[in-house]
């Protein structure tokens, strides 16, 4: 078997298109793929057993795409999803769009009908390159066996280069069946062309350094680019050298350690008041690998009006899109920071002039809202989602990979689970895709088998992709699942409470008994109703030999604070009610 494999993927040889597909994937370093077979991709599946690739059989192709996505987010490698033509291909689309909006490197492979019948509405024919055109970084329609290796290799290059993104390769059935000469080396793509409008000039670097030197109230805005570029050290060096506090976007979380004294926490719609206030009062914003998304700026014309802005970003199309900036350094974040750092001298002279006064004033602005006493509160029997997040964080030591779904629980996780490490939070930010968490966690676990992996999902979103419980069982993956069961599509209910007169139309949710559902899949579980049971249940899940599901029955009409209503300015946020007991004291941390 081994020698067979080597001969199939190394020296040039005549192979079928199907063999070429797998051999090219092997050559690209792929060890795991997520997929679902069907007629148009059957030749490829037939050849799979000859290659050293683990195939995870999913229960719905959306799951395959989210798994490939979670795999990529957790590891930084390119995730691979496979589906058949027609319905298999269209089922991928939500997952592809999710990866597109969050710039995730992913390659999706679909089978299609034979080239002779393309465009004839043949059985299970869908124009998937047409369908996915706006939600892929690029896509290919391959109708000849000779084109498979070059297309796949180029797909990998495109997926991971520059601003990463998903690429789809649609391969006709006859191309899989035909024979062609396979030469991995010869199929190498043209050298990668960086975006021609990248621009990091000495003038810009000097101007940025000058702004940093002169600033009295600077804030670093830390985004997903930190992870994508591997700029953790550089961002930290900049923050420490010039004593600049760091605010995180949702996808930036983990890029700068939560425990770092300069880490303010998450900004934006559900960011803490002091973070958004600091941004509104700042005189300089240094945006690092973030795109001023509408969820973090409130409204463009009210956003940080007093601040000069430096934007370090790899995508020229993001410059001046939502927010006009004063200095744009358009390039890879790590490379740009490495050029900028020598210009920001360390020690007293390099510090911006008002360092301590600014940091003190932010500290003071935390006031009541930062008094967080969760640990010492009497157990009144009520279980709040914040308790769950806090204890999950405390008990796992913040070292787990957490995949969250979309909704209130996602925001509570971002607020109360303190991430120390990059790639430890896997969440759908740009598209906000419910159903993401469970499959994404599967991808993360396959990528990082030695890491503790938790799913944190709402009762609503969990049901969108719950069928993947069977995948967990079939693949024997040790994944722990926390369902934050509030009986509602909670985030929508919250909007109804705040903005629609509490008209809870179509948000109350009748759900199956999740513990029984897990049981039906051969997965152990437990319901948790009070605070007192919480810690022991989490420990039980962690130590259980095999996957475990915890159904947390939490306070139903709880809301996420603070909140910036859509279309309002950051400082117009609905603040955390003073009496809210769901806060942490410094002792909690």
């Amino acid at each position: 078997m081994e020698t067979n494999t080597n001969s199939l993927s190394a020296a040039p040889a005549m192979l079928t298109g199907s063999e070429i597909l797998w051999a090219t994937l092997v050559g690209e370093g792929v060890t795991d793929v997520f997929g679902y077979p069907g007629g148009a991709i059957l030749p490829a599946y037939d050849a799979l057993r000859k290659f050293p690739i683990r195939h995870i059989l999913v229960r719905h192709e959306q799951g395959a795409a989210h798994m490939a996505d979670g795999y990529a987010r957790a590891s930084g490698k390119v995730g691979v999803a496979i589906a058949t033509s027609g319905p298999g291909a269209t089922n991928l689309v939500t997952g592809i769009a999710t990866a597109m909006l969050d710039s995730i490197p992913m390659v999706c492979i679909t089978g299609n009908v034979s080239s002779k019948v393309l465009g004839t509405d043949a059985f299970q024919e869908v124009d998937i390159t047409g369908v996915t055109l706006p939600v892929t970084k690029h896509n290919f329609l391959v109708s000849r066996a000779e084109e498979i290796a070059p297309a796949i290799r180029q797909a990998f290059q495109i997926a991971k280069s520059g601003r990463p993104g998903p690429v789809l390769v649609d391969i006709t059935k006859d191309a899989q069946q035909a024979t062609a000469r396979f030469d991995f080396e010869a199929a190498q793509p043209k050298p990668y062309r960086p975006h021609p409008m990248l621009k990091v000039e000495t003038d810009g670097l000097s101007a940025a350094a000058e702004l940093i030197r002169g600033a009295k109230k600077p804030v670093i805005l830390a985004g997903h680019g930190i992870m994508q570029s591997g700029a953790m050290e550089q961002v930290r060096a900049l923050a420490e050298r010039a004593q600049i506090p760091v605010a995180m976007t949702l996808l930036g979380i983990g890029g700068f350690p939560a425990s770092h004294p300069l880490n303010l926490g998450m900004m934006g719609m559900h960011g803490e008041a002091w973070v958004n206030d600091a941004i509104q009062n700042a005189d300089l914003l240094i945006a690092c690998g973030m795109r001023f998304d509408d969820r973090v700026i409130g409204t463009p014309h009210t956003y940080a009006t007093k601040a000069k802005k430096i934007h370090i970003e790899i995508d020229p199309a993001e410059i001046n899109k939502n927010i006009k900036v004063d200095v744009a350094l358009v390039g890879d974040l790590r490379e740009v920071l490495e050029q900028l750092l020598p210009r920001v001298s360390s020690g007293k002279t390099g510090q911006h002039s008002g360092a301590s006064a600014w940091l003190k004033s932010i500290e003071a602005s935390k006031g009541e809202s930062a008094v967080r006493d969760m640990k010492n509160l009497p157990d009144l029997g009520h279980l709040y989602a914040a308790h769950v997040m806090h204890d999950l964080w405390r008990i796992t030591g913040g070292n787990a990979i957490v995949a969250t779904d979309v909704g209130q629980h996602q925001m509570w996780e971002a607020q109360y689970f303190h991430h120390e490490h990059p790639r430890s939070l896997v969440t759908s930010g740009g598209l906000g895709t419910m159903g993401f968490a469970l499959p994404a966690a599967i991808g993360a676990k396959v990528a990082c088998p030695d890491k503790e992996v938790w799913v944190i999902a709402g009762d609503g979103g969990f049901q969108m992709t719950a069928a993947e419980l069977a995948t967990i069982r079939q693949e024997n993956l040790k994944i722990n699942i926390a369902i934050i069961n509030n009986g509602y599509l909670g985030m929508v209910r919250q909007w109804q409470e705040f903005f629609y007169d509490r008209n809870y139309e179509s948000t109350p949710l009748v759900s199956p008994d999740f513990v029984k559902l897990a049981d039906a899949h051969g997965i152990a579980g437990r319901a948790v109703k009070t605070r007192g049971e919480l810690a022991a249940a989490v420990e039980e899940a962690r130590t259980h030999n095999g996957p475990f599901l915890l159904n947390f029955l939490v306070e139903q009409e709880d809301s996420v604070y603070p909140m910036i209503p859509a279309g309002s300015a950051l400082h117009e946020m609905i603040r955390r009610p003073g009496h809210n007991p769901l806060v942490e004291t410094p002792d909690d941390l």
């Binding site: 390159t129 047409g130 055109l133 706006p134 970084k137 690029h138 329609l141 495109i158 975006h195 021609p196 409008m197 995508d315 020229p316 199309a317 410059i319 001046n320 899109k321």
Partner: protein, 190 residues
Amino acid sequence: MLHTFVSYVEDRPGVLTRVASLFRRLNINIISVTVGHSERAGLSRMTLVCEASAEAGHRIRASLYKLENVIEVDDIAGAPTVTRELALIKVTATRHNRSAIFELAEVFRARIVDLTAESLMIEMTGVESKIEGLIQVLIDSEHEILEICRSGKMTMRRGHHTSRVLKAMGTGDAEPPEQEAAQEADAEPE
């Protein structure tokens, strides 16, 4: 404002869709687009005109460059250029009013390229305003227009710039370097 982009794109299936799809996504109407072979093998040259805010130019150009099949993008924005459009106009014409149309065509330096007992076809090359002018005069003189076919704008920068030179200059961001050699854009054609 009107934006004109000249771009080199790979000459293969689906490329036009990708370019068009970008504008569709931005909800920008393409006023005209002309595509044909260029001086570079395997690459087509495209002149694309659209109406969008002044600030949109940068984002459109940057987004075009993000398309894998797009090799070069030049935002013509105000640079000295030669711009032409071709129009074919078929009008009703009998032996009674033919000569009047001939006269009009002469003034506009248009040519008559087809003639039958009931109609004739005018071919005109020029800047957009001249073509509009001819059409307006035909309407005002109560000649019945049967068909109009227009190519859309084709644009080339003035001066000795090959596309490679423009690329090295980082076109679109900078002012054109040879202002003195440049004449008014859309000057009268020979």
